[in-house]
């Protein structure tokens, strides 16, 4: 566009993707705190909400805005490797949405969080609380899944730490603020490749998908 300057801001993240991101941040914290303090009803509620949001995000990966789509941010391992090589080499390949390494992180987090939510459904705390689907499996299996649930939490901690390290790397080493755009949805023109055309999906689709995800979760549980 002729009137654009490097300080012009361009919308790259749609509202549903941003809301999903920050909701997951809050829900992971609530889930950890509630389990740590023994508030298992709160833990159940946050876990179920997380499950609904994850189902939504999977659907949004096919129906959402360009930058929310899996096809936009999932790359071959060779592309991810080339990207990291360029990054270490001092250049900064530009991407409107997730970069290839970030895309891999999104995929890993979605998988791990989904595994966490699902194992939680079958888990128990050994006292008075059992997940809503715990009775569908044997007590031994429920215990085993509870152990896996605890183990996955440690994997989540590692992934979250890597995520934060990457954000810090972009900000302090590459001079790009990744957090701001995930709040406002907008990136500086200078951080978006030339000629990129982003397509956004109407929010009503997101709402419908969220309701569908909630219905799916309810169907699984009841």
């Amino acid at each position: 566009m002729p009137n654009e300057t490097p300080n012009t801001r361009i919308e790259v993240w749609d509202a549903p993707t941003r809301l999903f991101h920050w909701s997951v941040v809050i829900l992971i914290f609530i889930s950890w705190l509630s389990a740590d303090q023994g508030y298992m009803k709160v833990h159940l509620a946050s876990g179920l909400t997380l499950l609904v949001l994850l189902l939504f995000r999977i659907g949004w990966g096919f129906a959402g805005a360009t930058t929310a789509r899996f096809s936009n941010f999932l790359h071959r391992p060779s592309s991810i490797f080339s990207y990291l090589k360029a990054l270490v080499g001092g250049s900064k390949p530009l991407h409107a949405g997730h970069n290839p390494a970030g895309g891999l992180m999104v995929l890993l987090l979605l998988e791990v969080l989904l595994a966490q939510a699902v194992t939680g459904l079958f888990g128990n705390d050994g006292l008075k609380f059992s997940g809503p689907l715990a009775l569908l499996v044997s007590a031994d299996m429920s215990d085993r899944l509870t152990q896996i649930h605890s183990l996955i939490f440690n994997i989540i901690l590692v992934l979250v730490w890597l995520h934060l390290v990457a954000i810090g790397f972009y900000f302090l080493v590459k001079g790009e603020n990744l957090v701001g755009p995930m709040v406002t949805g907008k990136k500086h023109r200078a951080h978006v490749p030339e000629g990129v055309a982003l397509v956004f999906t109407h929010p009503i689709v997101a709402l419908a998908l969220l309701l569908l995800s909630a219905a799916c979760a309810a169907w699984i549980l009841f």
């Binding site: 270490v88 250049s91 390949p93 409107a96 970069n99 085993r144 302090l172 001079g175 990129v196």
Partner: protein
């Protein structure tokens, strides 16, 4: 959808990565300071600290560990670690849990474990929690004496005076009659048919059980492989079989090998041999085999013995 620009950050990459390494190390150090259990597991993993072991005949092993086993490890053991606490070994018990150490050697007053097991059952923090069997006053005294004596891994039983006498629990299994009846119902038609065809050979092990015994020894050589095959529909429930003196041969090997609940098998004076013995090796429930007067050799019986099966017989080296 990508382009390239030069980096314009505040720090060189090497400095940032060094800071990350520093912050990560600091984070792990803080976690180790806040969570002694985590600290101990890290130090033991890095071989910077020896894993404490209790002596076999120590007061801990003889008196304390069985109490933890009976009352605690269902929630604080290998399968489940509530509050990240394990009490299934001396090292784990001393290591503590998410909220720190629970046993302070020699300090009964500040040992959280002592506090928890002496709280009234109505207290939310009481251990074992409501619904589980609480420790008896004698059991609490045993733990108190041990912690008071330094929670030692090696102190002998005789060295701690005043401990209540050791009472050994004899577990009497609970019989679930309704469940046994339900299990019997699934095979009732087959059992009825077999009882009419082979009167007196098949019986339930007890009034409260759906497990069955087959005793064909009275039939002698008239009872052969084809007859045993007729019992195939009930193989899942057969726990004892006496085929002494019958006409069965190694041809029944595959049928006997498909009896997962079989505990005792008598084959005395039959024409069975090594092939049948070999087929029995995978049977995990099998505890005893009587093979007097059969063709089984010591070599074939060795693999059953190695599995812990008691062999009654001569193991004829023919």
């Amino acid at each position: 959808m990508s382009d390239n620009t030069r980096a314009t950050g505040y720090l060189p990459a090497w400095l940032y990565l060094a800071l990350v390494a520093l912050v990560t190390t600091l984070g792990i150090a803080i976690a180790m300071a806040l969570r002694p259990a985590f600290a101990n597991s890290v130090l033991e993993f890095l071989h910077l600290q020896a894993t404490p072991q209790a002596a076999r005949n120590s007061f801990y092993a003889v008196r304390v560990a069985p109490l933890f086993e009976n009352h605690c490890i269902s929630c604080h053991g290998e399968r489940r670690q509530k509050a990240a606490l394990r009490l299934d070994s001396y090292a784990f018990a001393l290591r503590g849990g998410r909220h720190g150490t629970v046993i302070r050697a020699g300090d009964i007053k500040h040992s959280e474990l002592m506090e928890r097991i002496t709280l009234p059952p109505s207290d939310d923090r009481a251990m074992p929690p409501e619904g589980k069997t609480p420790l008896s006053p004698d059991e609490i005294k045993v733990i108190r004496l041990w912690i008071g004596a330094g929670a030692s891994p090696s102190i002998k039983v005789a060295a701690i005076k005043g401990a209540p006498r050791l009472v050994r629990d004899v577990a009497i299994p609970n019989f679930d009659l309704a469940q046994a009846m339900r299990q019997r119902a699934t095979l009732a038609a087959e059992v009825d048919r077999l009882s009419r065809r082979y009167p007196g050979l098949l019986s339930y092990q007890s009034r409260n059980s759906a497990d069955m015994e087959l005793d064909a020894s009275s039939r002698g050589a008239a009872f052969g492989d084809a007859d045993l095959k007729a019992f195939a529909p009930v193989t899942s429930r057969l726990v004892r079989i006496d085929l002494s003196g019958t006409g069965i041969t190694d041809a029944s090997a595959s049928l006997l090998a498909a009896m997962p609940a079989l505990k005792a098998l008598r084959l005395a004076n039959t024409k069975t041999g090594d092939n049948l013995v070999a087929a029995l090796v995978p049977l995990k429930s099998l505890k005893s085999l009587t093979e007097t007067g059969t063709g089984a050799t010591q070599a074939s019986l060795a693999s059953l013995r190695a599995r812990g099966v008691t062999i009654y017989g001569d193991g004829d080296a023919k």
